[in-house]
Every structure is written in C-alpha cells, then in structure tokens.
C-alpha cells in the first residue's frame, strides 16, 4: 500500500482534536502492537488498534473517519489495560467517533431497527448502543 505522509496532514487540527478529546499523548506510542494482539475484535476491523494510533499521529483523518474499526470497538478496555506506555487506546477511538457524531453523523439508525431487532434485547444494550453510536 502506498501512503503519503505530509507536514500538512500531521498539522491538521484533527490530530490536536483527537488528543484533546481523548486526553492522550499520541506520540507516546512506539508501535509494540500489544493493543492489537489482545483486542477481541481485530478479526472484524479494517484498521487495527495500533494502526489507528499511527494514523492518528500522522493525521490520516479521512482513513480513520471512514474506517469500520471505530464502530467495531466496544470499549472493552483490554488494549488500555495492556499498553506498556499507558495510552488509553479506547479513548482515542472514542475521540474519532465523537468527531463524527458531533457533526450529527449517526452510525446507528435507531428508526430503522425493526421490532425483531429490538426483540428481547435488554435496555442496557439499547441505551449503550445509542450512547456510543448516535449524536
């Protein structure tokens, strides 16, 4: 895969926003990959957790905002528990979701859920998916 790294992308306000919303120092990451090794959801992800951090450092805003991964992460905090540099990766992913959700770009279309989808799903599931996937 060919990727272009540029000063313009690295200085994009997106990078600062991700750091601000997540409260994390992205440059602390040295790409050991423990987050991706322990993540139970990697098989469904298109960009792995360690790659998310690298992309965020480099300002790869478009790639991150259209990635499947940010909607696959269920904030189980396994990555956070295992990061040797103390980075909260789940918070970084939350920050990217928030940037989209705050533009009213909902991921979950609640009105499209059928009665069968909702079925006997417990209230905590409905509420948490709305909290995570809608603005």
């Amino acid at each position: 895969m060919r990727i272009n790294i540029s000063k313009r992308k690295i200085k994009d306000p997106f990078v600062a926003k991700v750091e601000e919303l997540s409260g994390q120092n992205l440059l602390a990451c040295y790409q050991c990959g423990k987050c991706s090794a322990g993540c139970p959801a990697v098989s469904e992800m298109d960009i792995l957790p360690n790659q998310i951090i690298r992309y965020a450092q480099l300002g790869f805003k478009d790639e991150l905002m259209r990635s499947k991964s940010i909607w696959i992460c269920a904030s189980c905090f396994t990555c956070n528990a295992r990061c040797p540099k103390g980075i909260n990766i789940a918070e970084v992913i939350e920050a990217i979701r928030q940037i989209l959700l705050r533009k009213r770009k909902d991921h979950l279309k609640v009105e499209k859920l059928s009665d069968a989808d909702k079925g006997d799903v417990p209230p905590i599931a409905i509420i948490s998916s709305m909290r995570k996937f809608t603005s």
Partner: protein, 292 residues
C-alpha cells in the same frame, strides 16, 4: 447489616432473575437492602471524551440519592451500572472543577455532591465484608459436582483503577463458587469481551464471540457459565440462537447469574431463581445434579 441498593433498568426487566435471586440470597445472609428512592438510569456507559460532562450528571444524581438516605455507600449488581457509577464518582473526585459544574447544573437538588459516596459491587460486599467462609457455613444445598465456568467480561475488572479484582486473572467468582460447594473451572476467555451493545446492530459478531467463549469453557469441562452482567448474560444465553445458525456443531450451554447459584445453595425458593427467564433452560442440568 443494612445497605442502599441501586438496581438499574435491566434488573427490573430482562434480569429479574438476577435481582430476585440476589435479594433472596442477601436475606439468607442477614443483609438488609434498601432500594434507593427515585433512582434514574446510570447512562450504562462511562463517558470517555474529556469534555463530555453532561453524561456524568445521571450517575452523579444517583449518588445524591444515596446521600439523601443518610448513608455513604451504595451497592449495585449490574456490571455496567457498577462501572459507570464508580468511574463517574472517581472522575469527579479527582477533578473538583468538573464536580462544581455538575453540581451547578443540578442546582435544584437539595443535596450537593462532594465525592463522598462509595460504590460497591455485591461481589465486593460478599468477599470483603460478609466473607466467603461465612457464606459457606450457610450453604444448605452444596452445588456438588457442578462444573462452573466463571465469566467476568469487561466491566467488573477494567479499567484496573476501578476493577474489583485482578485485571487479567480475577478469581472472586471462582472463590465464591468453591464456598458454595461447586467445582469452578478455569478457562482463558473469562475476561474476553462478549461484544456488548454490538448485539443491537451486529448480532452476528456477538455469535462469533459467544461461540469462542462458550466452546473454550466447554473444552475445559464446564457444564454451565456463571456471570454478573445482564448484557453478557443476554449475549451468551439468548444469542446462542444465532450461534447455532452460524456454527451448527455448537452445543448449547446454560448461562446463570452467580446470584442464582448462590440463592440455590442458600436454600432460596425456586420462584426466586426465575429460571423461566433463560433462553437455554438451566433446569435439566440442575435437576441432574439433584439441585432442583
């Protein structure tokens, strides 16, 4: 002993089996529970964005309700409520400026929150105060020869700052099951995420996790799973329907709350176990072991 109790929404709906069995067990252990007046939903997930204070209002308001009962601690059963209430509490305790803003937002409340309520999970109460050796003395129907895989999921143990046991290898449920006379078995997926709320729009992902977690427990000889989160319970129990569709060789397995097993061992009546609320019927295995 008397303790304030915060149930949360799901304990009053899908997880009535969790609530009824917990309350009966506590009665057998001579603990008096007092459900909070006017409790509200905790929000189910702790808000992770640094600037998002509004979503901490709901959990903090519940802690005000605790203070109104003239006590300084509250017990929860649901792992999601436990995590959200405890994390929001720690968040405002470490950040007085946020706490001031949240208090100002709730200016109509009679009581001001000062970070002075302790959030406890039932498992902590059983382990640290009632103590397992005392529970063992009250067992009337030991769960003999019952091989139980104990599943923690995420929110009882992570993040480690608020978790109630070791973040990678918790053992509190195993120790409780041993006290109840059961044979707890160890398996590597006990803290693996069940895919949580993905169950709403991606049930097929949950089916994959359910398959992994339960086949791992079965390979170690487990006959049933005990757990403490109503969302994990839904995913591991009800989503077995989708799991069998995707993995036809998958063998169904009953999922119970640890409180149902405790209630059974402590001699609670069968109606308090609410065994009718399960997708996979746990009665056959319990009958086989002479427990029903």
């Amino acid at each position: 002993m008397k303790i304030s109790y915060y149930p949360g929404c799901t304990l009053k709906n899908n997880a009535k089996n969790f609530e009824d069995s917990a309350l009966c067990s506590l009665k057998q252990l001579e603990v008096e529970t007092e459900e909070l007046d006017r409790w509200n939903c905790c929000g189910t997930v702790f808000s992770l964005a640094t600037d998002d204070l509004i979503h901490h209002v709901a959990p903090i308001r519940n802690l005000i309700r605790v203070k109104e009962t003239n006590t300084n601690r509250v017990m929860t059963l649901c792992a999601m409520c436990f995590n959200t209430l405890k994390r929001a509490n720690e968040r405002v305790k470490s950040d007085p400026e946020s706490l001031d803003k949240i208090n100002e937002f709730m200016y109509r409340e009679q009581v001001k929150y000062e970070g002075d309520v302790k959030v406890l999970h039932l498992l902590e109460l059983l382990r640290d105060e009632i103590k397992f050796e005392n529970i063992a003395k009250k067992v009337v129907k030991p769960l003999k020869n019952l091989k139980i895989a104990n599943y923690y999921g995420c929110l009882l143990v992570r993040p480690k700052e608020i978790g109630l046991d070791d973040v990678e290898n918790p053992t509190v449920l195993e120790n409780l099951m041993t006290a109840l006379g059961a044979d707890p078995i160890d398996f590597p997926y006990k803290t693996e995420c069940c895919a949580s709320y993905q169950t709403v729009d991606k049930p097929e992902n949950v089916a994959d996790r359910t398959y992994q977690i339960l086949t791992s427990a079965q390979s170690q000889g487990a006959e049933l799973v005990s757990l403490s989160c109503p969302l994990c319970a839904f995913n591991l129990d009800h989503r077995q329907k989708e799991t069998v569709k995707k993995y036809p060789e998958f063998k169904n397995m009953p999922i119970l709350y640890f409180t149902q097993l405790m209630a059974l061992a402590l001699g609670c009546p069968e109606e308090d176990l609410r065994l009718d609320l399960h997708y996979i019927d746990p009665k056959p295995i319990l009958r086989k072991k002479g427990l029903l």
